[in-house]
Amino acid sequence: MNDMAIRVERLGKMYRIGGVRESYKTLRDSLVGVVTNSIPRLRGRQHTSCKLEIIWALKDVSFDIKRGEIVGIIGPNGAGKSSLLKILSHITEPTEGRAVIRGRVGSLLEVGTGFHPELTGRENTYLNGAILGMKKAEIDRKFDEIVAFAEVEKFIDTPIKHYSSGMYMRLAFAVAAHLELEILLVDEVLAVGDNVFQEKCLNKMGNVARSGRTVLFVSHNMAAINALCNRVILLEGGSVIKDGAASEVVPTYLNRSSTMASRRVWAEKERPGNSVVRLVSVSLRNAAGAPAEEINISENAAIEIEYEVIKEGARVMFSLVLLDANGNCVFGSLDNTEENAYYGKPLQPGRYLSVCHLYGNLLNNGRYYVSIIGASDYWTENFRADYAISFETIDDGKLKRDYWGNFGGVVRPKLCWTTTPLRGGPSANPSLGGKVNS
């Protein structure tokens, strides 16, 4: 096959969990392991103490990708998407099976890899280019182009530790964008940078695609997948569940009960509702107002409920139930607040958006689910969409300050603490006592 770009045959990747991935071993652990594992053997017992927990991040994955195809890889977290890209980019080795790749492989997630803050823009361009696989002659040839693309001409001989984050990103991206690659791997989940930058990455991919190169695109952003990919592979539990046109595979993914996304859009006929109102979509937005799969626990977020009023003069009300990873209710919230001017008012037919604003410093880090309960005419005709969306909360550590461990509990509110020295208590530190009292 001449137009084959990637051929994957029965690929598998196994990880041992518990030891290898989460924390590196110490010599002592290994020594202790050797001793404790050999004791039962010495006693002639069955060797059962050492139970290796293994997981297959990928198992028996096969597919062919033709040159010029743009293939989306979707699936829930832990489905093996990133493992697949890591194997295809040669970073880690498969446990079984094989992959044949025709052409140079690169990925947009490598932007800025190996950048050193002490080196100048010029030096980093060469270093980064070499790391990404460019020859020096090639960088020489494209240098001016890269610098112009990044718009850092003036600062090209300044150490990049003095760059703004925008300049840094632009330069990093410019180098990656000037690679001559036949196959591009993009892991959006890992892509760093702000929305503008991610947007730029997506645009770039569009350009790349039109120029006839092969692209493998891992993403949770179904809109982007639909727009860019002519073929989609759905992975789950390390196996290919479905492989086909985006219009077939994406709905399969969204409708699977076990796959939760932070945005749920119901098809015309499946919208939950009653004779008065029907849900159109539920989605999560982060502090910046952008659709997000994950939110930062210290930042505000919003859950948007889009709905369609069918009957003239309907009075619509919503309740939101937040559940933790185990399905326990964290809280419920009603839309009958003072701020909500439309609550209880008769509405004209058409689309509406109700937004529930979540405070920052409220949730713990982990996975949460959102169920929506809707009703009309003061809770007479209820309907519900259980587990409509799910999202992940990420700990930025701001609330932890100098604490390193984990917090228990389903919520982690930011509460006020004070300390006051008591009369008759330790007054050995007059300077501190004086300051606190004054």
């Binding site: 290898v20 991935r21 010599l27 080795e93 790391i131 350009n207 120029s211």
Partner: protein, 286 residues
Amino acid sequence: MNLKSNSFLKNETEVPETVIEPTRGWVSLRIWELWKYRELLYFITWRDVKVRYKQAVLGVAWAIIQPLMTMVIFSLIFGKLAKLPSEGLPYPVFSYSGLLPWQLFAGTLQRGGTSLVGNANLITKVYFPRLIIPLSATAAGLVDFGISFVVLFGLMLYYGMVPSWAVLWLPLFVLFTLLTALAVGLWVSALNVQYRDVQHMIPFVVQAWMFISPVAYSAELIPEGPWRILYGVNPLTGVIQGFRWALLGGHPPDELMAVSVIMVGVLLLSGLFYFKRMEKTFADVV
């Protein structure tokens, strides 16, 4: 834009084919692959050298100050006070000539040990032969070595010493030093990925290793017989002895050298194989 034109050109030219498969057992070394990536080796070495003395007021002068100060201290304590024999050479030159290969070795061991872990962001994101990393840590030491070498010539001039024809052997002994450092560097860098104990062990090991190497004293002090052979198991004895002899004369390489050469060969080969064997899991473990 520009990318389109590039890709059109590229599509018509040769397309490399890569096969990704699990490697089993003792893998082939694939040394040839290093040649393909020689520019990367150059750039990473160059980065390490360039960054090392950034934002230091004295900058590259540190490459001279370190061995020079150590030499002064050695000369005072071991030369003047303890009056250690120095194979008939002036003690400052004697100890400095031992310190040069020693520092090349110790520096590589220190940098090399943490090199893979320090470059974890590269290893988990881009493919390249992982050997590049400890190799560049070794090569980066050569620059310091070159700079402090100039001082050695100054010292020799001061003491009116002229190297004999044996100096022709010098490049060979420098290479030998590098190979020794690389051999140990391969082992510790790969071990450190899995066992971070190694990086805590290195400072202590380096300190102890110096005292079992003929840096401050002459290998002559070791009595003949089995102990002397055992002493040669430390490859640094052969390295330093040979280095000194090539430059300054003194005691020529003897059976110690033979033992050291064999040791380095064994360490280097086993180190290469161990490294290659562990290489495939670096990205998962580091």
